[in-house]
Amino acid sequence: MTGDSLLSVQNLCVDLNTSAGSTAILRDISFEIATRQIVGVIGASGSGKTVLARALASWLSPPLGISAGRILFQGRDLVADAGLAKRLSGREIAYVGGNPAGALDPTMTVGTQIVEKLRAVRPGISVTDARKRAIELLSAVRIPAAHQRFHEYPFQYSGGMMQRAMIVDALISDPALLIADNITQPLDVTIAAQILKLLRELANEFDTGVLFVCSSLPVACDASDRVMVLHGGQVVEQQPPAALVQRPRHAYTQGLIAELPRLWDETTPAPMHGDARQPIMSVRGVSRSYSVRKPGGLGKVQVQAVRQVDFDVYAGDNFGVVGESGCGKSSLMRLLTGLEQPDSGEVLFEGTNVSTSSSAELRRLRRRFQLVLQDPYGSLPPQSTIGAILEEPLKIHRIGSARERRARAAEVMNEVGLPPSLYHELPMGLSAGQRQRVNVARAMILEPRLLIMDETLSALDQTEQGKMLSLFERLQAQHGFTYIFISHDLAMVRRVCSRIAVMYLGETVEVAPNRKLFFDPAHPYSRALLSAAPTLEQRRYRPEECLLEGEPPSPIDLPPGCSFANRCPHAFDRCRLESPRLRSSGEGALSACFLHQPSSQRATTAELLR
């Protein structure tokens, strides 16, 4: 399947040269890439993946520099011949990075810039030919209406489309080697899965060798023919993915694989349900829209961020809300906590309507439900000590004397595993994990009953995430907390949540118990999400069958009918006319899809629509 050796890296060393001396960043790296071969590179953050990718693209700049070794590209050494390296870059060796957002000039259309780049590296090509080729490739990477998108500016592209445009930009000069550094990192799982599929097709079609740098082992294994593990600047092993997963040789790889959360492991116990007779929070037909300026024109348009969301959270539940970026998860969180009022519908907390409560009432309610936010760096006031941050909620609610408050702060610090010495420290020196613990401690100091976690663990690496989850479990056992986890991470949700709501374009399309959702999802979108989830396991849902092309439509002009209809592999006539509502799909699950709603329900749906 793969061809001749294209790139041969021999004993490559890269040093960081500072006035204090030089430190080795990469040591003795050797590997080969053949034509049409995809070589994956994985490793922890800081292991040197990006430095390696940049070294191969001749893009290292001081203080980094190659101190030894050779990079033979088609037999010629790029380290020795800087002029050659410069001539090849962008032409035979192309690079795509993980941050497509700032990669192109914001003042020029995407098409113009791709044409400009092609003509810069292949001066013989006429503008018309270059344009034709760019539009061809843009359609090849499935940019919808490519001839039109060609004339749009970078800021008019979504993240996924921009990443595809950058792949076009890299491949348009027909390079022999493509270096892809974490290209799926900023993308949602369903879009990332599309890009990986595309990469494989392109490598075969254009005879390109690919170095695929990635921070997720499942993704790297999915995408590559061979996976190289980088640890502390050294290649500790390289094997084909299957062999690597079954017989990892190095301790680092073994640890990584052992820790990997699994989606479809029958032995992973599904967390216990709360008591269905005791809903602690009920969300009833909640909708919220925001008005924003119309792009490119005057006047306002309505963005429907949350539409008809319905679910109950039972006491003692771990309730999960999953969905891709922009699906309305965070807007929903603001409605749940009473930070904003819904346009219609209601949010009940222990029977009290959060949406209509007065601010004094709301403050009392807030003692009983607390929010833990996403960003560990933005949410702590930099000038207050940890102790002051923790005691602040007690002060606001006028609880206890100064001595008692201090004792209480020390107590929660101990509970979340923060050393007492941090009491007088500022948040500045804390690691991401410690910051998140401070956030959790601050939320639980008022002894709430419900904690809402908005992407609380997304900023942490796999190991630290595991520790936090054990902490949550312990706290739940001790205090009887109920959790709502808002997340895009299916593996995390699988491990901790008892019931899960799947959101798509502001709607809850499925609400199901853990096992039912992962083993027998009723909604086609849930299956698409599962088919795209990065995992090393045998997939229950094959991307070829579940994952359709395209991106979610904009929440501004929603098509009538089922909002998933334009990407749904099972869409039929009715889906484009009526909107499905949540109906029982068995085993205590609800799903909004006509597939399992007999058309006798048509009357009721029509009634509901009225």
Partner: protein, 326 residues
Amino acid sequence: MFIMVFLAKRLAQGTLIVVLVAFVIFTLLRVVPGDPVRLMAGGMAPETLIEQIATEMGLRDPIPVQFGRYIASVAQGDLGQSFMRPASGAAVGGASFDDMTRSERARVLDLIAEAAPKTLQLALLAMVFALIVAVPIGVAGGLHPGRWPDRMALYLGSVFVSLPNFWLGIVLALLLSVKLGWLPAIGYRGFAYTVLPAIVLAVEMAPFIIRTLTVSVAQIMRQSFIDIARIRGLSRLQIIVRHALKNASVPLLNLLGVQFSMLLGGVLVVEFIFDYPGLGLLTINAVLQRDFPLIQGIAIVTSAAFVLINIAVDLATTAIDPRLEY
């Protein structure tokens, strides 16, 4: 489509601004001490005559009434007549009050129409000189932050800024005109008379252009799309000319808009030094003579020019960077 709506909206806003400016100036002129009729008629004129002229001219009506009358005629394109100047040219002296009839006085519009093109010519030439000097220095400084072109840009800017324009004007006039005889200096009898004052103005403007360019070019060169352009295979020249300079031109255009407006409104000192018959000199004389209609006329015309320049700059910058439209 978008552009028509944009223009209509901005022009409507602009008209409102001009009317407001006119009202403020109008009111101010009528509350400050100093009766123009007294100046016009001369110190020797009897009180009754002054009152008579003032009433005839409507100067004793309530201010809103006067303003309404004024703005209605402005809307018809009539800026009124100068209090002081005869149609033939030089200001009329106070002594000749008795033989003055209104029809003989110069129309404000004519006075402005005569002076404005000279100021425009001066402003444009000054801008060209300033750009010729400042663009290479500023861009070079921005491309090599911390190195000698950057430092040179900084030093030159500080030197230019600290030269007082009246001093520079006099020195240049002495040197280039009196001593070397290369350029004429005082008055206006052809294009050559514009060069010296334009140089003085250019020296005044250049440091701001240099500073803006160094900062914006340096900032854009740090953006990731510039860095990435290199490994996409673009040449350095292409990156600088097509991308860095294009992006840096947005703040530059904004600055030039402001500077140009300032030139049109107030090259007072320079026009005065060189006795250059532009709007600045006209303004100075009008103020000294309390020539209300002329002062108002100049205020209206220059504020309208500000509004138009602003719109033009916004159109140009959105054409360069379409994100600004939003």
